[in-house]
Assembly symmetry: C2
Homo-oligomer: 364 residues x 2
């Protein structure tokens, strides 16, 4: 592997006619962060550690700058990787991380999803299918109410039920009691229907909390878990994801302001750090992401990339069940559709509306 085999591309929003000076400054900042003449005193630093500008391209609202950066610095751990691809650069004005690639064989920890889209389908008993997912919410409900929602969603044939991302270890719905009771109700539904829904509790807190919650969830029989990688920290997310053998759903909370393009954040970083499914704000819902941005996220999450498994792109965020065929037409079949509020609106008709959703997906 060549010393500078890690490439990153930044978009720089600027009206400037030249980007040479800034590009050189970024190459220095993202590699040795030391005055150039000081760095050059040391042959090994000059030979192997200094970043280089690999290319620049003028685009409509600024410049694209591609850097070639040292693998040796970046590869050592999953926090240092973030440092090298976007650490101090994140504090330069108008700079967005819009791409990166890495010699995966040189980065031992960067193995990506353990299950991936196919493993998730298998766990859900739905090979080849468009997956369906929903969420139990709102926060504030007690364990009886949340687990009752699980039961009724499961009767409707949904593949995966996840916790709302506001559900943590709250006194009014404690994690252990919630997971146990939700599993009980999902198992009851499975006994009635003959098919098993996966439950993905939301892990939240310090790394110690995450470990304890993951352990409990697996013991209780949860078939998946969810975390928000930017809230818990990408390295903490990675540590849990690689240590458990059930699929991991990644929630995008707290990721939007980081200066990383959504397709790179959700489709590439979350995937690289071990997400088996990548939840993102679908176009036409509560968020303002465009169809093109959503397709870029989906593409980044599942397109071939070294030996790293595909993650399931999961549009969400105010999607109505009436849009099933449109969404499958847009995103294709290697997709999971996450519908929450649009099902919960059905109140007493929750199971029927869930069945309408899952049947529409199955027939699409």
């Amino acid at each position: 592997v060549p010393a500078r085999a890690l490439t990153v591309t930044y978009h720089i929003r600027t009206t400037s006619e030249s980007v040479t000076e800034l590009a050189e400054a970024l190459a220095l900042e993202q590699s040795v962060e030391t005055p150039l003449h000081v760095a050059r005193r040391y042959p090994v630093v000059e030979r192997e550690m200094l970043g280089e500008v690999a290319g620049t391209e003028k685009v409509q609202d600024g410049w694209l700058v591609t850097l070639a950066l040292p693998v040796a610095t970046a590869s050592v751990d999953p926090a240092q990787f973030l440092n090298v691809i976007f650490g101090n650069a994140s504090m330069f004005p108008g700079v967005t991380l819009v791409g990166f690639d890495l010699p995966a064989e040189a980065i031992g920890w960067a193995t990506g999803p353990t299950s991936g889209l196919e493993g998730l389908r298998e766990a859900a008993g739905a090979p080849g299918q468009v997956l369906t997912c929903t969420a139990i919410k709102p926060v504030g409900l007690d364990v009886a109410q949340l687990s009752d929602l699980c039961y009724r969603f499961a009767l409707g044939g949904i593949h995966i039920i996840k916790d709302d991302h506001y559900l943590a270890d709250h006194p009014f719905a404690p994690f252990r009691e919630r997971v146990s009771r939700c599993m009980e109700m999902i198992n009851r539904a499975a006994d009635e229907t003959g098919r098993r829904t996966l439950y993905a509790p939301n892990l939240s807190g310090t790394p110690g909390d995450l470990r304890r919650q993951a352990e409990y969830a697996l013991t209780a029989g949860a078939g998946a878990v969810m975390m928000a990688p930017m809230q818990v920290g990408l390295p903490a997310f990675h540590e849990i994801a690689r240590s458990i053998d059930v699929p991991v759903l990644a929630h995008p909370s707290f990721s939007g302001g980081a200066g990383v393009a959504p397709d790179i954040m959700m489709g590439r970083l979350f995937r690289l750090y071990g997400a088996d499914a990548v939840i993102f704000p679908g176009y036409g819902g509560r968020f303002s992401y465009t169809k093109e941005e959503c397709l870029a996220i989906a593409d980044a999450a599942r397109s071939p990339w070294h030996q790293i498994r595909a993650a399931a792109p999961t549009p969400a965020g105010g999607i109505r069940i009436e849009r099933v065929s449109e969404l499958i037409e847009t995103f294709g079949r290697d997709t999971m559709l996450l519908v929450g509020g649009s099902l919960l609106e059905a109140a007493e008709e929750l199971t029927a509306r869930t069945r309408a959703f899952t049947e529409a997906v199955a027939q699409a």
Copy 2:
């Protein structure tokens, strides 16, 4: 504590003449994230969990929107806190988190720095003084070279020597060997000068890596540590910070500038999560932060705030030693000055130049 005693303020960049609809949408998104009529079915949710718009104000380039949010949801753990103050809101276009306040007495984990500025001064043997700090770099040097820099910096009378944030557990300068050898050379200098410099190794990696590194560093006698909270994750940073009794320096790498205002990110979040010193890009260096932005960061890091200790504001990033008196005039004496490259340029004269720096600070 009232149910909605957590307030957050967003700046929304928009030319729109009205912000009512968006403000209401954000209040819903940051609290129950469920259609309003669904949330209102449950009395406890309506009474205690729904966010409210507490105020809006038109400003030159958009609007300020202040929300009152449920303490119960946010307080439970340090990841969920991020979720409530800026989770999904981070994915709304043009929204920046520009302020928050919390009923500290209601949030058990939010105890802030363990040492704080005063504890850091005490640990450095420098009560009442402007603190001085430098960094060993560039990445690529071996342990002998790095520890030699420690020796020469320490002879120059610097208060704190930190690792460059690119130093991790690299094969060419392994963490344990680096820490041991740097401590040895700092102790040798202390034997010669009679005053002890603190060494702050950089902890990097997964939460497990951080724990193992922190434990080793403390056993080896390191008087401080450094982490980059946004790289390792704020909850992971917090878990380590509260578990050790030496001061913790927070590095701003990967903290961006787009989603959370720098004073709130570095001065408030880093401090709340346990940073005893907050490193930030000083004006007039390699970064483009203005003097006003830097003063806002310093103010957020050290101004009185509930019972939370002050953190040491630490301007850095290309600061030259010739600027000592200007910087102290700007930031005042409750400050730590971090100068790296400007000292390293002195090459063989490193100790003399370090002494010039520390004496200029002592006499300012």
